[in-house]
């Protein structure tokens, strides 16, 4: 039997073959071996469920997947990127945190073909995620729900009710906007802070060098419209908004614990869990540990958005990503697996496993039932994800500065240092602004 191929068929086949490398074809390329480094979840069952999901995908797609769970404790994850990117070998894909996508962008394979279809399917993505991972119009990493968190207020109901502000009424565990929630402002917090200190429960708001301190101060600055560096990269630290934000903190600091300057990311948790603080800004990990170790305190907690300022309400967001190395041997399978893990069903499975700690990257996924079911008290973390009626915006300290400058402001804790210089070291506002200007000029090199 002879087969004849027409000129038209030959052209069509050639065009198809030529297009092959330009598009990521789902399922077709997924095969062989794959090594992925996931974030070692602080909720141990999170790792178990992640492994189950990956095993199920691997069996279905006939890919041999090796998983490592790498902790962020002691910056082990960051040291892993540094080593693998220099050696150009290691995992195919790794979990990335915060600014690390930007830091390693030149070594990461673009993943537009994974993220864009997900956005089409699930709608708006957390803007902080976009700010950190969409570089020059291209996605450099895939947003991961595993580890992604907000840091809203976690408050003691008994104190707040006594002080005339009932979080269960202001932010109830149902889809409703209350007029009282509009009154949850930084000014209101300033009124409550002395009462909390008097009651022996000062608010545990750190001014240290670590992320919890930087994140909450970053959200506060944004709600005052205070930008140290604008989106174009101009240094704008000498502004009325920046001064107003710092002056606000100068008024608040006397009502906070005396040790706030040495707070690390565990200090605020301990303050809440031990029953020594009426409010912290943190994901529900502090509440979960309180339920385990000091149940009366845990059962007295309620999570709700941060206070608002003149320019709006901002909730600190700390996103995690999955990045695929350019030198990865099996990029196709990595994209396949990680894209699949971003689908609603898998995201919800992971979120349920960790009692709602993980925040989905897509705002449309804020309707998982887990947040209404978690207790005690029932509905305590209902308002942990940003709901449409919260009128809140996810925030990251340093925004809207160009990320290569913002990352340094964030990691060098410029915001908390500025406040510390005024409130602890006794420097004048002029000196503080001059110091910040000098630092920012250095960051802009």
């Amino acid at each position: 039997m002879t087969m004849t191929v027409s000129r038209r068929q030959a052209l069509a086949a050639a065009a198809g073959a030529a297009a092959l490398p330009l598009v990521h074809i789902r399922t077709a390329g997924a095969a062989g071996k794959l090594a992925v480094g996931f974030w070692d979840h602080w909720v141990p069952v999170g790792n178990v469920v992640m492994k189950k999901l990956v095993d199920a995908w691997a069996a279905k797609n006939k890919v041999e997947v090796t998983i490592d769970f790498i902790t962020t404790v002691g910056n082990k994850l960051q040291l892993t990127y540094a080593a693998e990117s220099q050696a150009r070998t290691g995992h195919d894909a790794l979990a990335f945190v915060l600014w690390d996508v930007r830091n390693y962008q030149s070594s990461l394979a673009p993943v537009d073909d994974v993220v864009e279809p997900l956005i089409k399917q699930y709608g708006q993505i957390n803007p902080v995620i976009e700010y950190l991972s969409k570089i020059d119009g291209h996605w450099s990493a895939i947003p991961s729900s595993s580890g992604t968190q907000y840091k809203p207020a976690c408050a003691r109901l008994s104190f707040f009710k006594q002080a005339g502000f009932d979080p269960e009424v202001v932010y109830p565990a149902k889809p409703v906007h209350t007029t009282e929630s509009d009154g949850w402002t930084w000014q209101k917090m300033l009124e409550l802070a002395p009462k909390a200190k008097q009651a022996g429960l000062p608010f545990g708001l750190g001014l240290g060098q670590t992320t919890d301190s930087v994140d909450f101060v970053g959200a506060l600055f944004r709600s005052f419209g205070a930008e140290l560096v604008n989106a174009k990269g101009d240094i704008t630290v000498d502004s009325d908004e920046v001064k107003a934000a710092i002056e606000y903190m100068a008024r608040l600091v006397p009502h906070l614990p005396s040790d706030i300057y040495s707070y690390d990311d565990a200090s605020n948790n301990r303050a809440l869990i031990s029953g020594k603080s009426a409010l912290i800004f943190n994901p529900p990990s502090a509440w979960a540990v309180a339920v385990r170790d000091n149940r009366p305190v845990g059962a007295d907690c309620w999570t709700f958005p941060n206070p608002s300022g003149p320019k709006g309400r901002f909730v600190p967001s700390l996103p995690f990503f999955w990045g695929i190395w350019k030198f990865a041997k099996n990029q196709s399978a990595a994209k396949e697996l990680l894209g699949w893990l971003c689908e609603r069903e898998q995201v919800e499975t992971l979120c349920n496993a960790v009692s709602g700690y993980d925040i989905p990257p897509f705002l449309s996924m804020a309707d998982f039932e887990i947040w209404a079911k978690v207790e005690p008290p029932l509905g305590t973390v209902y308002n942990y994800p940003i709901r449409p009626w919260h009128n809140s915006v996810p925030s990251i300290a340093g925004y809207p500065a160009p990320p290569e400058i913002a990352v340094q402001m964030y990691n060098r804790a410029t915001l908390t240092t500025m406040i510390g210089k005024l409130t602890q070291a006794g420097q004048s506002m002029k000196q503080v602004i001059a110091w910040a200007k000098d630092e920012l000029e250095g960051f802009s090199r």
Binding site: R102, Q209, S258, S262, R270, N411, E439, G442
Partner: protein, 293 residues
């Protein structure tokens, strides 16, 4: 070939080769690579010579880091040397088996992994639940912000480093003391020398070399310390406890500017190298003098 292989120098070289390869791979190559990195621009795409170092010298925060590193290293090494010297003399005076027990006990801080012992100290200094503050409260003294105020935080990091490092000095000085011939002390006693005279004219001259080498070694290690500051203060409050290693980590790894981080970490290299040459030359000269005598 057989003749070449049977030469003593060839055998010695071959036996040393694994160590040479190890040092080359784990010390010389990373050091050269770090120097290379320190001379690249932020994105590691262009050679910029020494401009990273020049940039650092213009920054107030980096000048603060230089001051803090020197304060930390010099204070801690002086304290360790002094405490080690005193402990060595006290131990030397204890007779027989009891000396072994005390020696073992005093070496514990140096033997326990530093990260673990520092964590223990951190719990003692903890901002909210300091055990020291609990004790102070028992006697009516107000709590001390051990890690939250600049002066106290610097004191704490020097204290922990001294606690960890003093046993090393102690054991080295004890070994040196044991090697001083007893006849010298006896002769000094016959000449009417008291404790201080013996210390000045016998002990110290006989220990000069070991003192120089331990101080040099400890100075290098203390300048490069990372664990204590990372665990106790993470550079805070307000950057006032950062030293070279912690600042290099913040700039290089955490903030993604690896060339600048490498420059920070290499900053002390020429100064320490100069100090090493100076001190080791002194040691060699004294050795020659003693051999000639």
């Amino acid at each position: 070939m057989r003749r070449w292989l049977s030469r003593r120098s060839t055998v010695a070289f071959l036996m040393c080769l694994p160590l040479i390869v190890l040092i080359g791979g784990l010390v010389i190559y990373p050091a050269c690579y770090a120097i290379w990195l320190a001379m690249l621009n932020k994105h590691m795409t262009r050679f910029v010579g020494f401009s990273n170092f020049a940039f650092l010298l213009r920054r107030d925060t980096f000048r603060l880091v230089v001051f803090q590193s020197c304060l930390f290293a010099v204070s801690a090494v002086m304290a360790k040397a002094l405490i080690g010297f005193v402990l060595a003399h006290l131990l030397h005076a204890i007779p027989g088996g009891r000396q072994r027990v005390w020696r073992g006990l005093l070496l514990v801080p140096w033997v326990v992994p530093l990260a673990l012992s520092t964590l223990g100290w951190w719990w003692l200094f903890d901002p909210s639940y300091s055990a020291f503050n609990w004790l102070l409260a028992r006697v009516g003294i107000a709590p001390v912000p051990w890690l939250g105020a600049t002066g106290w935080a610097r004191f704490c990091m020097i204290l922990v480093n001294t606690w960890y490092g003093a046993p090393f000095f102690m054991i080295m000085y004890l070994a040196a003391l044991k090697s001083v011939p007893e006849q010298l002390f006896e002769a000094a006693s016959i000449d009417g020398a008291g404790f201080w005279a013996k210390l000045r004219f016998v002990t110290l001259p006989m220990m000069r070399n070991i003192i120089s080498i331990t101080v040099l070694f400890s100075l290098i290690v203390t300048f490069a310390d990372f664990t204590i500051i990372r665990i106790l203060t993470n550079g805070g409050p307000r950057d006032t406890t950062h030293i070279f290693a912690t600042y290099a980590f913040e700039v290089g790894i955490a903030s993604g500017d690896i060339p600048l981080g490498a420059s920070v970490s290499l900053f002390m290299l020429p100064i320490l190298a100069f100090a090493s040459i100076f001190i080791l030359r002194g040691v060699a000269r004294r050795d020659r003098d003693m051999a000639a005598a």
